[in-house]
């Protein structure tokens, strides 16, 4: 195991008026580690994701990615990170896809953004990724607006992973999907993450999804991390009253 965390956050604080969205949050993610942030709506999960990925500035605190200060870096550097070493999977695929661009173009965009200039290779890569996310390569020229919700989400994942990022942020990736579709998507994410050795920070309120995917869990409430640790330790032996409530509320996680 490498000796440095990939992403490291210290003492993050953010207030919306009098409400603490982030209350002295610390977090480390190591290469290849999948970390789930769980908690109910409004607990600060998504805010934390946005702050860690540099999309939102905290009132105080530090975020360091691979030795670089994320909050101090310019937009050019941050965007460069976003299209090379990072990926972001949005809850709503419409926020992560270009709905008016074909499936192949959606996957190819990140490749072209980092300088790929061979159409045949880009198309080959897009075809391979469609297969990986279990979309028929015949649909490569179809617009994602004609895809089902589950397919759109799988396409978004392909589009995000095509440049082999080291760290992927996922915001409720199974959020708006049917239960049966969720299971398939989760399994696909699990497989890809293991295969590519990705570090993933996944925000979810789905305890079962966290159990399936994550090595480690952070439980957030009112902007604070109230409990964290190995996934099975937190879910099987929850210490904090809120975690116990969360786990007890789930049917057979």
């Amino acid at each position: 195991m490498s000796e440095m965390p990939l992403l490291s956050a210290r003492d993050l604080q953010l207030h919306f008026g009098r409400i603490a969205a982030l209350d002295h949050v610390d977090l480390d993610i190591w290469p290849g580690e999948v970390v789930a942030i769980v908690g109910e709506s409004g607990s600060g999960k998504t805010t934390l994701l946005r702050v860690l990925s540099g999309m939102m500035a905290p009132d105080a605190g530090r975020v360091v990615f691979d030795g670089q200060d994320v909050l101090a870096m310019g937009e050019a550097a941050r965007r460069n990170l976003m299209r090379t070493q990072w990926g972001f999977v949005h809850q709503n695929p419409r926020d992560g896809l270009r709905m008016g661009v074909s499936a192949g173009g959606n996957i190819g965009e990140r490749l072209m953004a980092v300088g790929a200039r061979h159409y045949g290779n880009i198309r080959g890569e897009a075809t391979a990724w469609l297969k990986r996310v279990e979309i028929s390569p015949e649909r490569i020229d179809d617009l994602p607006r004609n895809f089902s919700g589950g397919m759109q989400q799988r396409l978004q994942i392909a589009r995000t992973l095509v440049t082999r990022p080291r760290l992927v942020f996922m915001d409720e990736p199974t959020g708006g999907l049917d239960v049966s579709v969720q299971a398939r998507l989760l399994d696909m994410i699990r497989g890809l993450v293991a295969e590519l050795g990705l570090a993933v920070l996944i925000v979810t309120h789905d305890i079962a999804a966290a159990r399936l995917l994550a090595h480690r869990i952070l439980v957030m409430r009112h902007g604070q991390v109230v409990e964290q640790g190995l996934t099975d330790r937190v879910l099987d032996d929850p210490q904090h009253p809120y975690t116990q409530l969360l786990v007890a509320s789930v049917l057979a996680a």
């Binding site: 299209r83 661009v101 074909s102 173009g105 965009e109 072209m112 953004a113 159409y119 880009i122």
Partner: protein, 283 residues
């Protein structure tokens, strides 16, 4: 020559011209970068070349000779009107011959006759933003230009090839200027794109409705975007001009009757006429 004393020289007041010249200078200093300017109401509607006219008005001097073309032709309504306009408000000489002109205002073409260091070409631009249609948020397109984040433009070309088997964009074909800014060359045919590269003449672009000016200084690299395995190819109808016989010039398809008759003729009427004259003289 004299001009209508009811107007300031070249119609615009001097402080407006200075404002526009500052925008032009900035554009020249940052090749391909769109500079906002305070576009004025002109005595003709948007879409008729108000941007180009304001640029021309701001750079015109009494000794200039002006040529105006519309789709390559000097004798269409738009070209005739703009020429008449400047004769009246600036009293400048006008010409239809490319080589004689010092300022050439154009809509949708670059003359076939190579331009020189002594000349300035002014393009009328309907939509200066090349990322328009791809990214609807203007603030976002500005960020993309600022960060040279142009993957999206290649996405459009990718989509072209995916749909048509080749890059089907045949006009307003996007270019990179000086290896830095993505630029819309205005709706000139892709055939004309190579003429922009290392052109000895100064190239100025004016968009009146969109209130943007941009420029390509003389001898600046202008590269049409493409893929390694789908290189940029200037496309031309595979015919000779029915009037002058040219096999090099850009051709217009002209419908000659109601029963499908057609012919191909030079889009650049000045070039075509000169060639016909030369041929008649030789005979």
């Amino acid at each position: 020559m004299t001009y209508d004393p009811g107007y300031n020289f070249a119609y615009l007041d001097e402080s407006t011209k200075r404002m526009i010249r500052r925008a032009i200078l900035k554009g020249v200093a940052i090749p391909g970068h769109q500079v906002p300017f305070g576009s004025r109401e002109m005595p003709l509607p948007y879409g008729w070349g108000t941007g180009g006219i304001q640029v021309t008005a701001s750079i015109l001097g009494p000794d200039d000779t002006l040529k105006v073309i519309d789709q390559g032709a000097d004798d269409t309504t738009n070209a005739v009107s703009i020429r008449a306009f400047f004769r009246r408000v600036a009293g400048v000489a006008t010409t239809e011959r490319t080589a004689e002109a010092t300022v050439i205002q154009t809509r949708h073409r670059i003359p076939e006759h190579p331009l020189t260091e002594q000349q300035i070409i002014v393009y009328q631009v309907p939509m200066p933003e090349p990322l328009f249609r791809l990214e609807p948020r203007i603030a976002e397109t500005k960020r993309m230009h600022a960060l040279a984040d142009y993957g999206l433009m290649h996405v459009r070309l990718y989509e072209d090839i995916a749909r048509h088997g080749h890059i089907a964009t045949s006009y307003n074909y996007p270019v990179m200027v000086n290896g830095r800014y993505l630029m819309a060359p205005s709706p000139i045919p892709a055939f004309d794109n190579p003429k922009m590269d290392q052109m000895p003449a100064l190239q100025l672009f004016g968009a009146g409705r969109e209130k943007r000016i941009y420029a390509v200084p003389p001898y600046t690299g202008v590269r049409s975007l493409d893929f390694d395995d789908h290189p940029f190819r200037p496309i031309r109808a595979p015919h000779a001009c029915a009037l002058c016989g040219s096999r090099e010039s850009y051709l217009d398809e002209v419908i000659t009757d109601d029963s499908g008759g057609k012919m191909f003729v030079c889009s650049d009427t000045s070039y075509c006429t000169e060639r016909q004259t030369a041929r008649e003289a030789a005979e």
